[in-house]
């Protein structure tokens, strides 16, 4: 049973590490519906973040994860998947 949850802090760090995109965690938290594309994160970047999370938690995230359009949607989906172990 995984108790870890993905926070906006961690997402911000991942965006920086995996795709070189700098967005402050507070900004993500304040505007969770701002599209990834306007934040500068492209589809490859999101795939990289999904891959990193999958490797880190040794789980397969649903394919919808890489199709998420916003940080809010992504964090919600990932946490749901980690919680239910899907």
């Amino acid at each position: 049973m995984i108790t870890t949850a993905l926070t906006f802090d961690e997402l911000s760090t991942l965006m920086k590490q995996a795709a070189g995109v700098t967005v402050d965690a507070r900004e993500l938290e304040k505007a969770p519906d701002a599209p990834f594309t306007t934040l500068g994160l492209d589809s490859l970047g999101l795939l990289g973040i999904v891959g990193e999370l999958e490797n880190r938690y040794s789980v397969a995230l649903p394919t919808d994860a890489e199709r998420c359009k916003t940080p809010g949607e992504f964090v919600g989906l990932v946490n749901n998947a980690l919680r239910t172990g899907v």
Binding site: D42, S43, L44, L47, E66
Partner: protein, 422 residues
């Protein structure tokens, strides 16, 4: 100077059989050459299938040094070039060597060999500070991408402009296009042109896994490559080479060579959009098509067949359908458009040349090769994709189009009418 450029020879190394004849037999029968990977153990990969060539260098009379040391993609190119030169009846010793050029493409060059030796020098990936003593002393030949054209030029005594083109998945089309310009503008009379790639290796398979571009249909490899089908789920990796002998028209006539067709035009544009993404509009590919038609002064309604890039990714198939409609207008609906990647997979840089070879053979046989595995139409892809069965048809003007990572959009026009009909 704008001289006419003829195609006088073809050589192919493709999955499903070596040589232009075996290649055409596969295409015209609508058979697929995709299967589980045998070149290495693909355990752990998401996509473990590919279209592999059953190729043994010993069968093709390569000199021992090439057989032993040259990379697989270079061996492919030498064998395909040999067939093309023989097919053209070209006596390379009788040609002025300074007027014989080489223009070959490859997307990933010596990657497979580079990976092989990397494992040796890094203790299986454990060390950043690699140990050079374990490396093959000829490793620089895999490192330098120009080795491809260099080796082929050496084999056939070419001394004119020798170029290697690497524009990702349009490398093959662009290499033929550069060759076309080289002859049309008078820098050479003959050009050995085409492309080769042997990318079926762990690193290349893994990098396409990472972006989920390749099909994960590991249980049914024969039907995994399904361009334009609504249930497609990515491309299937391939390997191979195709080489054409391009020749100045009068030069070919003077020596009594058989002329398959002419290159009517070539163009390439960047989409300036995304390294891997494509727009839904296909504006840039359409512009490339329009440019080739302009060069040949050919009305779009005279296009008889479009050989599609048709990789079998959703975005590609829609992009390309939109581009062809934009250029051909309502005539697009009357024009068969098929993807041979359904049968021979996607050999990255090589496939553009293999597809041009398929177009030349289609013109020769007056038969359109099919899109194998096409069963379920995609409402957004509503053209005639020539499902499953080859189709006899009167063919004079044929287009081959391609898209590549990096945004490259290219088109080559092949014609038997000599163009100039408007």
């Amino acid at each position: 100077m704008n001289r006419r450029v003829a195609v006088t020879g073809i050589g192919v190394v493709a999955p499903g059989g070596i040589g232009a004849k075996a290649f055409w037999d596969l295409l015209s029968a609508g058979r697929t050459a995709t299967r589980g990977i045998t070149l290495f153990d693909p355990v752990g990969l998401r996509s473990r299938i590919a279209a592999e060539c059953d190729f043994d260098p010993a069968d093709h009379g390569l000199d021992p040094d090439l057989s032993r040391h040259a990379d697989r993609y270079i061996q492919f190119a030498v064998v395909a070039a040999g067939e093309a030169v023989r097919d053209a009846g070209l006596d390379t010793d009788a040609e002025d060597p300074w007027r014989v050029a080489v223009s070959l493409g490859s997307a990933v060059g010596g990657t497979t060999r580079l990976e092989h030796d990397y494992v040796l020098v890094s203790e299986g990936g454990r060390r950043w500070d690699v140990d050079h003593r374990a490396a093959d002393p000829k490793l620089h030949m895999a490192f330098s991408p120009s080795t491809l054209s260099s080796v082929v030029a050496e084999q056939f005594g070419a001394r004119g402009p020798v170029q290697t083109v690497s524009t990702g998945c349009t490398s093959g089309l662009d290499a033929v296009g550069y060759a076309f310009h080289t002859i049309a503008e008078g820098r050479a009379d003959v050009c050995i042109s085409g492309a080769s790639d042997s990318p079926i290796s762990p690193i290349t398979m893994a990098c396409f896994d990472a972006i989920k571009a390749t099909s994960p249909d590991n249980d049914d490899p024969e039907h995994a490559s399904r361009p334009f089908d609504n249930n497609r789920n990515g491309f299937v990796m391939g390997e191979g080479a195709a080489v054409l002998v391009l020749e100045e028209y009068e030069h070919a006539r003077a020596r009594g060579a058989h002329i398959y067709c002419e290159i009517g035009g070539y163009a390439t544009f960047g989409n300036a959009y995304h390294m891997t993404g494509l727009t839904g509009e296909g504006l840039e590919m359409s512009r490339a098509i329009d440019s080739t038609l302009d060069q040949a002064r050919l009305d779009p309604t005279l296009i008889d067949y479009v050989n599609a890039h048709g990789s079998g990714t959703r975005q590609n198939d829609r992009h390309e359908t939109a581009a062809v409609k934009r250029s051909l207008g309502s005539h697009a609906y009357d024009t068969p458009m098929s993807s041979i990647k359904s049968m021979v997979g996607h050999s990255l840089g090589a496939i553009g040349a293999i597809e041009v070879a398929a177009c030349v053979l289609a013109l020769k046989h007056q038969v359109v090769p099919p899109t194998a595995n096409y069963e379920t139409p995609d409402p957004e892809c509503d053209l005639d994709y020539v499902p499953r069965t080859a189709r006899p048809r009167k063919l004079r003007n044929v287009l081959s189009v391609g898209s590549g990572f990096g945004g490259f959009q290219s088109a080559v026009l092949l014609t038997r009418s000599g163009g100039r009909t408007r």
